[in-house]
Amino acid sequence: MLSAAETFFGFIGRNAIRLFKGIHDASLLINNTFYWAFLSPLKGKPIRVKATIYEMVKVGYNSVPIVSVIALFVGIILALQSAYQLKRVGAMIYVANLVGVSLTRELAPILTAIIVAGRSGSSFAAEIGSMKSAEEIDALVTMGINPIRFLVVPKLIAMMVMLPALTMIADFIGILGGFLLSVTELQLNPYNYIQQTMNALVIKDIVTGLIKALAFGIVITIVGAYQGFKVEGGAEEVGRRTTASVVTSIFLVIVFDLFFTMLFYFFA
């Protein structure tokens, strides 16, 4: 019979081993992905351009409608919510500042990342996971084709380009949403609203948002690929890993958001 102490330390030990193995596997994946994406092209093993463009269409272009609609609504919501408070102090024109700054610095990158994590992060995990269970990954390896170069790198490049691009679209459409509500419902002067937005926004607001988007893109790709490669069994595990990839990437996106926001707040 195991003593309580043995059970307790056994529990800690088993979980610690699992945790370290997870960290080890994830670091290996990150290391290999960046090697095949940025170093090996310099050594004459170029990235797969056609596959990358194909991924860009799937990740970026196909997300434009949903990102636009959500950004538009969030812009309107932001304008309404800030008007609710600003009305009391008679500073309605500051709606423009609030909408512009909170969208570009925070809401556009994070909303886009969450949408893309749900759409593309999950599909990365499902795609790689089902290839793993159908021995397609083994087949690639035996053909001398590195699965990370073949599968993950095009997705990474696509995400690193398309997530900032989608964020810019969300910035623009979100501000447009706030503008539309302000000039109609709030009866602000359109010219003043635009002028106020221009004055409120500095390049730094937009750039910090885009840096965040870039980091989120990397996080979503790595999490999706990690969960995909972890699949050992069949269809059931593909489903489980797909869910895990969405939950983990949304969680990590918010952790990274906190990190970057603090970084920009204290050092920029």
Partner: protein, 261 residues
């Protein structure tokens, strides 16, 4: 008899379970060698070692003039160009057409012109009886056709070794027989070494030149078909005569069988 692959004292573990226990045998060059064994005998594990998907705990696998058990990725990539593998479910990439699947190793490892490649793809598909299916996707093919396309892809770089993982698994007897005939035909047409992992006895008697039998992680037999038929080893007799053994009742018993003690 010239040796193509030599396996010496191969030992491997899954966690704490010893799956292969000191396996040694050699595979003759230019012949069809069948690796035979029941479920849990370690034959799939052995195959994974031969194609470099797993590394053994100890032991040597001498192939192509080097020990692939200790090769690094770069060295082994050179060996990989000389081996072709047909996986159990064919493992074609579902996002690519049949032609692109066959072209994959060529695009990766050669600098052939696109037009030359198209000719080669057609030749390979013709060889396995799939001409005209270039633009089909794997999901549109039947099980047998997928395996044929898998063979075409495995042969894309004209390898010296062709591995088959249970080629008749999941196929009806007619299709399976067709695949056996294809293996025989290819074997006659090319000077390749074929290694087939299977437990289908009819198929073994049809295609094998040389047989290796694994049982519970040991190589219990290596020899020709006639020697196999004449063997008086109890396990081989059971296998050939399709006799059952005592049922495994508990997970502990089953574990003991795969662990081998």
């Amino acid at each position: 008899m010239e040796t193509a692959i030599e396996i010496k004292n191969l030992v491997t573990h899954y966690g704490d379970v010893k799956v292969l226990k000191d396996v040694s045998f050699s595979i003759p060059k230019g012949k069809t060698t069948v690796i035979l064994g029941g479920s849990g005998s370690g034959k799939s594990t052995l195959l994974k070692h031969l194609i470099g998907l797993l590394k053994p705990t100890t032991g040597q696998i001498l192939m192509n003039g080097g020990d692939i058990a200790v090769m690094n990725e770069q060295e082994f990539n050179e060996v990989r160009k000389r081996i072709g593998v047909l996986f159990q479910g064919a493992a074609l990439l579902n996002s690519l057409t049949v032609a692109d699947n066959v072209a994959l190793p060529m695009r990766e490892h050669t600098q052939l012109e696109e037009s030359t490649m198209q000719v080669m793809i057609r030749m390979k598909l013709d060889l396995v009886g799939l001409s005209g299916f270039e633009n089909y996707y794997p999901s549109q093919l039947s099980g047998g056709m997928k395996k044929r396309a898998g063979i075409a892809r495995a042969m894309a770089l004209d390898p010296a070794f062709l591995f088959f993982d249970e080629p008749s698994a999941g196929l009806d007897p007619i299709t399976a027989a067709g695949l056996d005939e294809l293996i025989l035909k290819l074997r006659q047409a090319f000077k390749m070494t074929f290694i087939v992992v299977t437990h289908e006895m009819p198929s073994v008697f049809k295609i094998a030149d040389y047989v290796v039998m694994l049982d519970r992680g040991d190589a219990v037999f290596a020899g020709t078909l006639d020697e196999l038929r004449a063997s008086d080893n109890e396990r081989i007799r059971m296998f050939l005569e399709r006799r059952s053994e005592k049922e495994v009742y508990s997970p502990e018993d089953y574990f003991r069988i795969i662990a081998g003690d």
